[in-house]
């Protein structure tokens, strides 16, 4: 079954999607492109025929059932896994491995247990040769951003689950990559922290123009953050939908959470997910 032949598309698919609200993004060549990508773990195919592309500065939210392949898609973009079929392209070049242009917020935080919070956050700066003072400065700034001021010198095993998750986020924000791959980055956070950070992500995107792939299980979150929502129903048979999110700019505005088109989209997707 090819993408074109798939039935019941409630919204436009892939590149044919209407302009995203991020001005100017639609004209530029895509930052990221999957072309009929398939993937198998040890010979067991878990996805086939996945094609999509993401423009510069766009946020693509990935929604889908547990185990459908969201993390696997992120891993292919990050360059940790190679598609077993098709090609994955970033900035016009086939992805052959990980690189600092693509930062990853891992589903399970994946912190360096042997480094303090500050050292974890400033890791990319250390790799780039930044001095001690500069690293500390950035670490403190980022820790404050994710609400971890005062924990800079704690080790990961002294943190709660949600705090670990926030270090994983801060670490990537500090690196400021061109493409951010976020795998359920807010799943262990309370409502307030979560909403604050959602707004923060939008602000950072607006400021830096970075492109974001955002995996979440929260339809609200997908709709509030995503320029488009990629709903992965059944990647094994190559079935997925793409929804356009039409919310007024500036996106970070909390009012958007009550916008009628927001509520409508939420309902549509909820129905679709429960079948």
């Amino acid at each position: 079954m090819t993408a074109a032949a798939r039935p019941s598309k409630p919204a436009v698919v892939g590149e044919a999607a209407p302009p995203s609200p991020k001005a100017g993004a639609e004209r530029a060549p895509p930052v990221l492109k999957f072309e009929q990508v398939g993937f198998s773990y040890d010979g067991r195919a878990i996805m086939r025929d996945v094609s999509f592309s993401v423009g510069p500065g766009e946020i693509l939210a990935l929604l889908g059932p547990s185990g459908c392949g969201k993390t696997t898609i992120l891993n292919m973009v990050a360059g940790f896994l190679r598609p077993t079929e098709g090609v994955a392209v970033v900035d016009g070049r086939e992805i052959v491995g990980p690189g600092p242009d693509r930062g990853v917020v891992f589903q399970a935080a994946a912190l360096f247990d042997w480094m303090t919070v500050a050292e974890n956050i400033a890791f990319s700066l250390r790799c780039a040769g930044a001095g001690k003072a500069r690293r500390r400065e950035v670490a403190e700034e980022m820790a404050a951003l994710v609400g971890l001021s005062g924990f800079e010198d704690a080790f990961p095993y002294q943190l709660s689950g949600g705090m670990r998750q926030r270090v994983g986020l801060a670490r990537v924000l500090a690196a400021g990559p061109k493409v951010m791959l976020m795998d359920e980055p807010f799943s262990a956070l309370d409502v307030q922290t979560r909403e604050t950070l959602q707004e923060e992500v939008l602000r950072i995107r607006d400021r830096t123009g970075c492109t974001i792939l955002f995996v979440t299980h929260s339809i609200d979150e997908a709709a509030f953050l995503g320029d488009r929502i990629f709903l992965l129903n059944d990647l094994q048979s190559g079935a997925y939908d793409v929804y356009d999110v039409a919310l007024p700019a500036p996106r970070p505005n909390p009012e958007n959470r009550l916008h009628p088109s927001f509520l409508r989209l939420r309902e549509t997707i909820y129905r679709r997910m429960r079948h």
Partner: protein, 263 residues
């Protein structure tokens, strides 16, 4: 566990750990005192202590005891530090690069089980009968053990942490330094403890390579002249050095690998 409970537990630990060898010593003294073992073979602790004092005062074979100890410690420490450093480096490299692993595999694994006695003639030929040979013999066994441990340690590096480092711009060396090495540390620290013990046991063999000072020489010489109390005193010195270094390494290991088992 509260702080005071922890303090009490630590105290009890030190107490039992001190009493246990003392109990063995007491049993030994009793066996010797009751005449249950020939003093020529199992001399009473007091006789060993006397021999120790004799050596401390008059030296052994005309060389002061501390010169023997210093000679051995110098050999072991140079060989140990160099062997551990190179062994860890090569082991980590082998863990990360299949090519390097393939090149080093057969030579190192053929060499590791070979008894030092089998290598001595070759070492004499190549490195002479001086310090070089002795140090190299110990160095080699430390190197080979550390290589096994470091390489095995690499496997403990979690996929996610390696990936995280790479995607934050770490180059090969930085991945190595900041992820692979720390992940391998638990096994490296264990290797360091095992290798120290082995280095000390090899000391005796290495001092077969010529020379007339060192604890290994002392033990060999005393045992070929059937001076059992001196053999025991020398052996006890090596044992104490081993115990002390091991406790140091174990303590350092717990400090260094502070995150282990904490989640």
């Amino acid at each position: 566990m509260t702080r005071s409970e922890a303090r009490r537990a630590r105290l009890r630990y030190v107490l039992v750990a001190t009493l246990s060898p003392l109990a063995i010593l007491a049993l030994w003294a009793l066996v010797a005192w009751r005449g249950l073992a020939s003093p020529i073979i199992l001399p009473p602790p007091s006789a060993i202590w006397t021999s120790f004092l004799d050596m401390a005062a008059n030296g052994y074979s005309g060389v002061p005891l501390w010169t023997h100890v210093a000679a051995s410690l110098a050999r072991v420490s140079v060989a140990y530090v160099a062997g551990a450093a190179l062994g860890v480096a090569l082991g980590l490299l082998r863990g990360r690069s299949a090519l390097i692993d393939a090149v080093l595999l057969a030579p190192s694994e053929l060499l590791r089980p070979i008894p030092p006695l089998g290598l001595i003639p070759l070492f004499i030929l190549w490195f002479g009968v001086g310090e070089t040979s002795k140090v190299l013999l110990i160095f080699l066994s430390v190197l080979l053990i550390m290589m096994v441990n470091a390489q095995a340690g690499v496997r403990a590096a979690s996929l996610d942490s390696l990936r995280a480092a790479q995607s934050m711009g770490a180059n090969r060396w930085q991945v190595f330094r900041f992820v692979v090495l720390p992940s391998a540390l638990p096994q490296i620290m264990t290797g360091l403890r095992v290798a120290m013990g082995t280095a000390l046991t090899i000391l005796v063999a290495s001092e077969l390579l010529g020379g007339d000072r060192g604890l290994g020489f002392l033990i060999l010489d005393a045992s070929s002249f059937f001076r059992t109390t001196y053999v025991f005193a020398g052996v006890a010195l090596i044992g104490l050095i081993g115990l002390a270094t091991d406790r140091g390494l174990a303590w350092a290991g717990r400090r260094i690998v502070h995150w282990e088992g904490r989640r």
